[in-house]
């Protein structure tokens, strides 16, 4: 006869506000199997937890139900409390009467009745609960970091410096990401490359870091501590060991006029190239789509002229397999870069550019060597209009969120322009200035007060060209909404930051959830901003939401230390929520008939064949066996098993049906 203790939490007014907790405790106390039932203001508080511990000892309870918030919130707390009182933690469960009841229904008998029902159902489940014991699994102490931007770089270095091995995978030919494209960085205006490149080199030289550039993650399987990853190393067509980065091939390449991705199409590059001079690794890549040799089978100038004979036209993609214990996602973001605003004429007028293109114009290493020249005719623009929220905060165009970084970089852009060209006029059309951050507001004020950037509160309605000028039609909502027309030489659109292409596919490969904008979802918006819902996979930077550099670096270090913590021991304990195959006494041994339907259904290849032998060694029966290291406890096999010979610990048939029957 089970002796279950039920503890109903008021959670202040959160539950007691709509649920009559005293009544619940009253009714529940009469349920068969319930030995003890109380309500209390805050169960998660120390006194609350002591209440439980004492009850366990005094009433010598065989099971505990805490009716409070969601188990996702406090199950660990209460299970720990039970353990401390000597009760097997898996005999403790939580009835979710807050998120699933008090918060979603009005104060009424119906709501109280629902709370009672939820508890009653759980009581009959817990009556069937059995003590379970955590499973120990080995931890493969190597981390995989996906994405070589500042986020990925920071995370890699932190993990590597903590003494663990890191595999850093970058899609492009060089690490560095968007930060390497930037000119100066707000609010300090120090040169982006100057602070980034040393880190890039550090990554390249760090003994603990294996760098795979021009590579992509092909597949990921396994689970926390024991992921198996396949990495596709795309053919560079250059032997990285032989190449010494002399650059002859790049100078001699016969194709020269390919818009450079690094310069956002404002500069040109040859078919064999390194994205930018400080690239890491500084080894060229052949762009097969544009290489004459790959198009016509002729040329091969680079091959002939390479002093180290490093060119390999026949090089094939390479698949690299690795075992890793934890993964950091740092795939970053991209910006809206299309004909998104027909009324703004982006893509139609050369002198309307995106913020990222402007960064290249302003960058000393950029196509104009840091002189702001307009793309159409190379003239220095005398009037530049900057438009914030170009795409962001625009539900009509499908992006409702604020891209967060635009207010700051727009202020920076205007400032840089004024610094480089004093007599120039800079206008900023904005809706709100969001400058939350250390020294941020001061920075914006400086742009306005010291550099005399004209801020106009209003959204631009239309831009069109008239005798070589761009006519920007806006309104000033602070000047009784008067229409304002500015004749500009160049317009810079702070286009929205959006999730990278392929983010969705990657998320599905790794089984991490993502939001409707395809940004990866954190496990908890406030309390677990670095974890994903999938154990062992962590987030760093703008792949989770638009972020500036400081935030990205902070989160990256967070992810890094999470990994370090995970790697602090050679093995880790997992919840014993796994499938088990029935065993009974001979001559039956197991009700399993060996159809192995489960094997085909298991997504984790956790089902093995076990031969049951007689003493003489002859095989009596072949039954399924669950590898408790691999099993993740989804229970698909359980539902599928024809003879009901597999069961899921913690969610056994007995428990589930008991719960249903009590409904």
């Amino acid at each position: 006869m089970s002796r279950i203790g039920v503890f109903i939490c008021h959670c202040g007014e959160n539950i007691a506000g709509t649920v009559d907790c005293a009544k619940v405790a009253e009714v529940v106390s009469h349920l068969s199997g319930v030995a003890h039932s109380v309500d209390y203001k805050y169960m998660c508080s120390d006194p609350g937890q002591n209440l439980i511990k004492e009850a366990i000892k005094e009433k010598n309870l065989s099971g505990v139900i805490v009716a409070a918030c969601s188990p996702r919130m406090h199950e660990p707390t209460f299970r720990r409390a039970c353990a401390e009182a000597g009760l097997n933690p898996f005999l403790c469960e939580m009835a979710n009467i807050r998120e699933h009841c008090s918060w979603v229904h009005e104060k009424s008998d119906g709501t109280t009745q629902k709370a009672i029902d939820l508890i009653r159902m759980l009581v009959s489940k817990v009556r069937k609960n059995k003590p379970l014991y955590p499973i120990k699994v080995p931890v493969q102490r190597t981390a995989l970091v996906i994405g070589g931007g500042i986020g990925g770089i920071q995370a890699s270095l932190d993990i590597a410096n903590a003494g663990h091995k890191v595999i850093l995978v970058e899609r492009d030919p060089s690490i560095g990401g968007h930060m390497s494209q930037l000119s100066e960085t707000f609010p300090t205006l120090d040169c982006s490359q100057c602070i980034l490149t040393p880190r890039m080199v550090e990554v390249a030289q760090h003994p603990n870091i294996t760098l795979y550039t021009y590579s992509e993650v092909e597949s990921v399987s396994g689970f926390i501590g024991n992921f198996k990853v396949k990495i596709r190393k795309k053919a560079r067509c250059v032997d990285e060991k032989l190449c010494n980065g002399c650059g002859v091939c790049i100078q001699k390449c016969t194709v020269k006029k390919i818009p450079s991705e690094f310069d956002e199409g404002l500069g040109l590059r040859p078919a064999i190239y390194v994205p930018f001079p400080q690239a890491v690794p500084n080894k060229p890549v052949i762009d097969k789509k544009n290489c004459t040799y790959f198009i016509r089978g002729k040329c091969a100038a680079c091959e002939k002229l390479c002093p180290t004979k490093a060119i390999r036209f026949d090089q094939q993609d390479e698949i690299i397999e690795a075992d890793v214990g934890g993964i950091v996602l740092a795939t970053g973001f991209t910006i809206l870069n299309t004909d998104f605003f027909p009324e703004y004429g982006y893509g139609k007028y050369k002198d309307i550019i995106t913020g990222l293109q402007y960064e290249r114009l302003a960058s000393a290493s950029g196509p104009t060597l840091g002189v702001i020249k307009r793309p159409s005719d190379g003239k220095i623009p005398e009037t530049v209009v900057f438009i914030a929220c170009a795409g962001s905060r625009d539900s009509a165009k499908g992006i409702e969120y604020c891209s967060k970084i635009c207010c700051m970089y727009t202020a920076k852009h205007a400032m840089l322009y004024k610094h480089k060209f004093h007599e120039g006029k800079a206008y900023v059309f904005y809706m709100d200035i969001r400058a939350g951050g250390k020294m941020y507001e001061e920075f914006v004020r400086r742009a306005i007060e010291e550099d005399h950037v004209k801020y106009i509160r209003g959204r631009v309605s239309k831009i069109y060209e008239e005798d070589g000028k761009l006519i920007v039609k806006g309104a000033d909502t602070l000047l009784n909404h008067q229409p304002i027309e500015i004749k500009a030489d160049m317009v810079v659109l702070a286009t929205a930051s959006i999730a990278n292409q392929g983010a969705e596919e990657l998320a599905q490969k790794l089984h991490v959830s993502y939001d409707s904008y395809h940004f990866f979802a954190e496990a908890h918006p406030k309390l677990r901003p670095v974890e994903t819902n999938t154990a062992g996979i962590f987030l760093a930077g703008a792949c989770q939401a638009p972020k500036d550099i400081p935030d990205t670096v902070a989160q990256a270090s967070g992810a890094g230390s999470k990994i370090a913590a995970l790697f602090s021991a050679t093995e880790m304990t997992r919840e014993p929520v796994i499938a088990v195959v029935h065993r009974t006494a001979p001559p039956i041994f197991s009700t399993c008939v060996g159809c192995f339907l489960c094997q085909s259904a298991c997504p984790f290849q956790a089902i093995e064949r076990e031969e049951i032998k007689a003493r003489d060694g002859k095989v009596l029966k072949v039954v399924a066996k669950v590898n408790d290291g691999l099993c993740q406890g989804c229970g698909t096999c359980v539902a599928l098993c024809r003879s009901k010979s597999i069961d899921l610990q913690g969610f056994t048939h007995e428990q589930m049906y008991a719960q249903i029957m009590a409904s």
Partner: protein, 196 residues
Amino acid sequence: MSYSLHHSTESNSLLYKVFENTGETVYKCYQCGKCSAGCPLSGDMDYAPSSVLRMIQLEIPELDSKVLSSYSIWLCLTCETCVTRCPQEVDLPKIIDYLRSESIEHKKVNPAAKDIIAFHKTFLDSIRTTGRLYEVGLIAGYKFRTFHLLQDVSVAPKMFLLGKLNPLPHIIKNRSAIEKIFRKSNRAHAGKEAEQ
């Protein structure tokens, strides 16, 4: 200037009525001013489109009545530029159509708008009687209503010569049908306002 702080009770505020009658939520407007920037006439209006929305948002009786007696609501050409570009998808023309009927209903029509209304009224009279627009009748009637007797005397004769103006109206067969439509619609329309 300052407004009395007592806010109008929700149900009689313009904001609420606009929602009731057009389904448009004026709260959605975050005052970016894109409509005022694109509107071909915001320069000629007493309140630019976005200020009209702002005035409605505050639910202050004084402002509500300013809106109804504004010239702006009559100046709108329904060119739909604002709603086409509005990031928050506020259907301003739809709202303004409603504001116009409210303005007439509450006898708040801006004096400067009388020509415009006169024209609309004449227009409707014309089709009410003939079923189709009788342009000559329209112009004549309009002049009669407004006493702009000399307007267009220069163009009109030329248009006759070009055969662009028909001296006689086109009259559709089933005129009673049109008359009915007008009567019923007017009743329905009046009814709708009576409800509030």
